[in-house]
C-alpha cells in the first residue's frame, strides 16, 4: 500500500478515535466525509467502509467499557434489537437514494453535531 494512502488512513482512524474518545460522538461522522474528500470514495462506498471501521472501533471501546461494568446488556438489547433491523432497512433504502442526497443529508447531520458541541 502506498505510503501516502497509509498516512491518510492513519489520520482518518486517529480522527475517529479522537472524536469518539473525547466527545462520545461516533467516529463515522469524520470517517465518511474524509473518505469522500480525501480518497474520492463514492458516498455509498464511504458509508459502507465507515460502518465496518466503526464496528472494529466499537468492539475495542465497548470491551474497555465492559471491563468497568458500564455496559447494561439487557437495556442494550431493548435498543439494539430494533436498531439492527433499522440498519438493514437503512442500508437497503440507501441504495435507492441519489449519492449527492447522501452527501447533503450527511452535511445536515454534521451541522446537528456542531450545534450539540456548541450548546453547553
Amino acid at each position: 500500500m502506498a505510503r501516502d494512502r497509509m498516512l491518510k488512513l492513519a489520520a482518518i482512524g486517529s480522527a475517529a478515535g479522537v472524536f469518539s474518545g473525547v466527545f462520545g460522538v461516533g467516529g463515522g461522522s469524520v470517517v465518511v466525509p474524509l473518505l469522500i474528500l480525501w480518497f474520492g470514495y463514492s458516498e455509498r462506498a464511504a458509508t459502507g467502509t465507515s460502518l465496518a471501521a466503526i464496528g472494529i472501533i466499537a468492539v475495542f471501546a465497548a470491551a474497555a467499557q465492559a471491563v468497568y461494568g458500564n455496559v447494561d446488556l439487557l437495556q442494550g438489547l431493548v435498543v439494539g434489537t430494533p436498531a439492527v433491523a433499522g440498519v438493514v432497512v437503512g442500508t437497503g433504502l440507501q441504495q435507492r437514494v441519489p449519492e449527492r442526497t447522501i452527501s447533503l443529508l450527511f452535511a445536515a447531520l454534521l451541522v446537528v453535531i456542531a450545534i450539540q458541541l456548541v450548546i453547553p
Binding site: 497509509m6 488512513l9 492513519a10 482512524g13 486517529s14 478515535g17 479522537v18 474518545g21 473525547v22 462520545g24 461516533g26 463515522g28 461522522s29 465518511v32 466525509p33 474524509l34 480518497f39 463514492s42 458509508t47 459502507g48 467502509t49 460502518l51 465496518a52 471501521a53 466503526i54 464496528g55 472494529i56 466499537a58 471501546a61 465497548a62 467499557q65 465492559a66 468497568y68 458500564n70 447494561d72 446488556l73 431493548v78 435498543v79 439494539g80 430494533p82 436498531a83 439492527v84 433499522g86 440498519v87 438493514v88 432497512v89 437503512g90 442500508t91 437497503g92 441504495q95 441519489p98 449527492r100 452527501s103 447533503l104 447531520l109 454534521l110 451541522v111 453535531i113 456542531a114 458541541l117
Partner: protein, 127 residues
C-alpha cells in the same frame, strides 16, 4: 421506563446509521438516558455495545451491495486507538470548551465542503 419509545429510537438510530454510515449513537444515547433511565456514562457505554452489531450488520449488507473496502476499513479501525490516546493527551492540555468549539468549527468546514462538492455535480452524476 418507556420501552416502546426506546425501541423506536433504536430503530431510527439504526436506520440513520445505515443511510449515512454512522453508528447511530446520536439516538441510542438519548434512548437509553431518557426512556430507560440510564446515567450518561452507562448510556454511552451501552450505546457503544449496541453500535457493534449495528455497524457490523450494516457493513455486511453494504458488502452485498458492493460498497465495502475491507482493507481500508480494517486500517482505519486498527489505527483509531492512536487517535484515542492523542485525544486524551489533547483533552488534558486544552480546555473542554476550546475543544468543543474547535471541533464544531471543523465539522462545519467539512459540512460546507461536502455540500459544495455535492452541488457542483450535475444532476446526471448525482443519481
Amino acid at each position: 421506563m418507556d420501552y416502546v419509545s426506546a425501541a423506536l429510537f433504536g430503530f431510527a438510530g439504526g436506520a440513520i446509521g445505515g443511510l449515512l454510515g454512522v453508528g447511530g449513537g446520536v439516538l441510542f444515547v438519548p434512548a437509553l438516558t431518557i426512556f430507560l433511565g440510564e446515567p450518561q456514562i452507562e448510556a454511552e457505554a451501552t450505546s457503544l455495545a449496541v453500535i457493534v452489531p449495528v455497524a457490523l450488520v450494516g457493513a455486511w449488507r453494504q458488502r452485498g451491495f458492493g460498497n465495502l473496502n475491507v482493507g481500508d476499513a480494517i486500517w482505519i479501525g486498527v489505527l483509531s486507538p492512536l487517535g484515542a490516546v492523542a485525544g486524551v493527551v489533547i483533552a488534558n492540555a486544552v480546555s473542554q470548551r476550546t475543544l468543543e468549539l474547535s471541533f464544531a468549527a471543523l465539522v462545519l468546514v467539512i459540512a460546507v465542503q461536502l455540500t459544495h462538492r455535492a452541488l457542483a455535480r450535475s444532476d446526471a452524476e448525482g443519481t
